[in-house]
Amino acid sequence: MDAQGMPAAHGIEAGLDRTPASVAKGTYLEAVHSWIVTVDHKKLGILYIAYGLVFLLVAGVEALLIRIQLAVPHNTFISPFTFNRLFTMHGTTMIFLVGMPIVFGFGNYLVPLMIGARDMAFPRLNAFSFWISAFAGILLYYSFIGGNGLAGTGTAPDVAWFAYAPLTEKAFSPGHTIDYWAVALLASGIGSIGTAINILATVFCMRCRGMTLMRIPLLPWLYATVAFLVLMAVSPLTACQAMLLIDRYLGGHFFDTQAGGSAILWAHFFWIFGHPEVYVLVLPAFAFANEIIPVFSRKAIFGYAAMVAASVGIGFISLSVWAHHMFTIGMTSFGNAFFTLSTMLVSIPTGIKTFNWLATIWGGKIRFATPMLFSIAFLFQWVIAGLTGILLSISAWNWQLHNSYFVVAHFHYVLVGAIVFMIFAALYYWYPKITGRMLDESLGKWHFWLMVIGFHMTFDVMHFPGLLGMPRQIYTYEPDRGWNTLNAIISVGGAIQAIAVLVLVYNMVHSYFRGVVAGPDPWDAWTLEWATSSPPPAYNFAIEPEVASRRPLWDLKHPEDPDSAFE
């Protein structure tokens, strides 16, 4: 059909691609089969998110067990050996099997839709990446059954998520648990690199007509930065897992201190991955905020170009700060000064982003729907997390508090206060697009307030036992240290957060069947994913869209005052 021959657009109605999703109903087996063989970016995105949410529950239970053990001094709820396994598996799971899959899930689902493409650049690579990541998760958890640990029974890795050498060498970890850990991370790393390549090729090569680099919505821009960071950061992790396996299986000496190998080299290699990884996880949280805050403030994002520059800047700076995890390992004073200053440098682009979000909200017509509530909490918590981060970047201060609960509080403030909060915001915001139904708002508000209360009870308070000298990764403590009340409050806060997450789970299941039908554009938003029906058809757009500004749906809804007139 000749597009020119269609009647002039009447408001939003004419421009929306309302082609309904195919509703072919097959048998149960056919449905399962279609999910297993799918190469559709939307289905793979949902698989990623579901996989991440399942492991969120698993790792959450591990966190609760840790908190029960630490709620009172001299507790004997779990053994020291189990405790070591729990915090190792909690950390590894949350980073590799929760954070990365959910981040990649949203990226898979949203990036092609937002740039007006029909799929990722390499759909089959996409499916491969997901399934190898899923395999990695199952492999890691199989170690509970097949681990063959020290005692000859099934166990799990117990060397902390950074797995410092030489504890991981054959001499000190003779069982197979470290092998499960290393191979699982190797496999998940291959999946992550595959997805990163796919995202970069999609963002730069699959844009619809008219979407120049400076018209890409901020979310795909940030995902491109994330993909670049994955290439630069996850590859070193893959390399050092290969080294560890060479040591363990071929008798190599990379980290074998008795043959001259270096434990410090492992620490450097791990944190060359480990610090950019934080930004791999937090930049998508920024990306969600970049989409949600403008829509619920009814204003275009403030300082688009500065946001792009700041995000890419964070990507580059974060590659040169890793040794701030290692101040107490013994570096030269030049090294300490360099990594203190480079770490502080990160606060400049992140500050730019924070002020841009505030300027976006400023003077806006704010709607306090659940996604916006989570975004506002994110703004506060992210600033506090950044401030304790600046404290910890000062090497002299760091020497006092390294490996204390202050550090644990700081990084959970980032991982939960910023990343998990924005993942929740993204779930509320895009759930209608993914399922076609709204999440329940009042349950959402229950979820939000319980989460805020639980989060602050746990992680605000957690700073203080750290300042009072409580080290991380201890399975119990003496009653006369002055940590008792604080630890009890932390544990109660953890339980409240667990209830909040259960409210979310109930909301997601309930709303899937009973939720209000969303329609294509429930939030009156401006980016291209809302131009399709909810859920979108397999091919996304029947006709490739063409855009003339950063907010194509605004142009469509407001032909009298289009953004394109100002670009």
Binding site: A3, N198, A201, P236, C240, H253, A259, E546
Partner: protein, 199 residues
């Protein structure tokens, strides 16, 4: 159809984006470079830290001939790229075959070096730090040569059965980019292992 494109102006303007094959290969090369960097850093860090022999200076000989084979293959693959772009398929097959033969020669060089080291010098991956880092780094590079050769052999089989035509020039160029990367990495590995490491 219930659809209208969001905008339908400027259909005459050209809409160009980078090719996804090249962007993806460049991304893969970025990731691979990071992996090689880690192994190179480990090699440099452990030079001279061994508590037992043999040392690089005692056992390593500079593989001038085989290195020249590998590096010159980059020149021949460029000839092949030019040939297929201009539809000269006979020339393409010759240059492509020459590239593969040079790659195989290089691989033979690595194999014979390893044979000498293992059988005559009794240096294995578990002997000392030098053995661990040397076999890992050179082995990592050799495995990339093997992958490149396998891909090029697949292309060769298509070329010999006349399934490969001039319109596939772009895919050949993507693969050639990988081969250039493998060669460039050898410059680094050569410098580190045979120039710096034998000091």
């Amino acid at each position: 159809m219930a659809t209208i494109p969001l905008q339908h102006a400027k259909h005459d303007t050209e809409w160009r984006q980078p090719s996804r094959g090249m962007v993806a290969m460049a991304s893969l090369i970025t990731a691979e470079s990071a992996i090689f960097t880690i192994f190179v850093v480990a090699y440099l860090y452990y030079i001279g830290r061994d508590i037992a022999g043999p040392t690089p200076k005692q056992v390593l000989e500079v593989p001038w001939f085989y290195s020249a084979c590998l590096l010159s293959s980059s020149g021949f693959i460029i000839r092949a790229e030019h040939a297929i772009e201009h539809g000269r398929m006979a020339a393409f097959r010759i240059w492509w075959l020459v590239t593969i033969l040079l790659g195989l020669t290089f691989l033979y060089g690595t194999a014979s070096e390893w044979y000498k080291l293992i059988v005559h010098d009794h240096l294995t991956i578990s002997t000392n730090l030098f053995g661990t880092t040397y076999y890992s780094l050179v082995g990592l590079h050799a495995s990339h040569v093997v992958v490149g050769l396998l891909m090029m052999l697949i292309v060769l089989s298509f070329a010999l059965t006349r399934h490969l035509r001039a319109e596939h020039a772009y895919r050949v160029k993507v693969l050639a980019l990988y081969w250039h990367f493998v060669d460039a990495v050898w410059v680094v590995v050569f410098t580190v292992v045979y120039a710096v490491g034998r000091q």
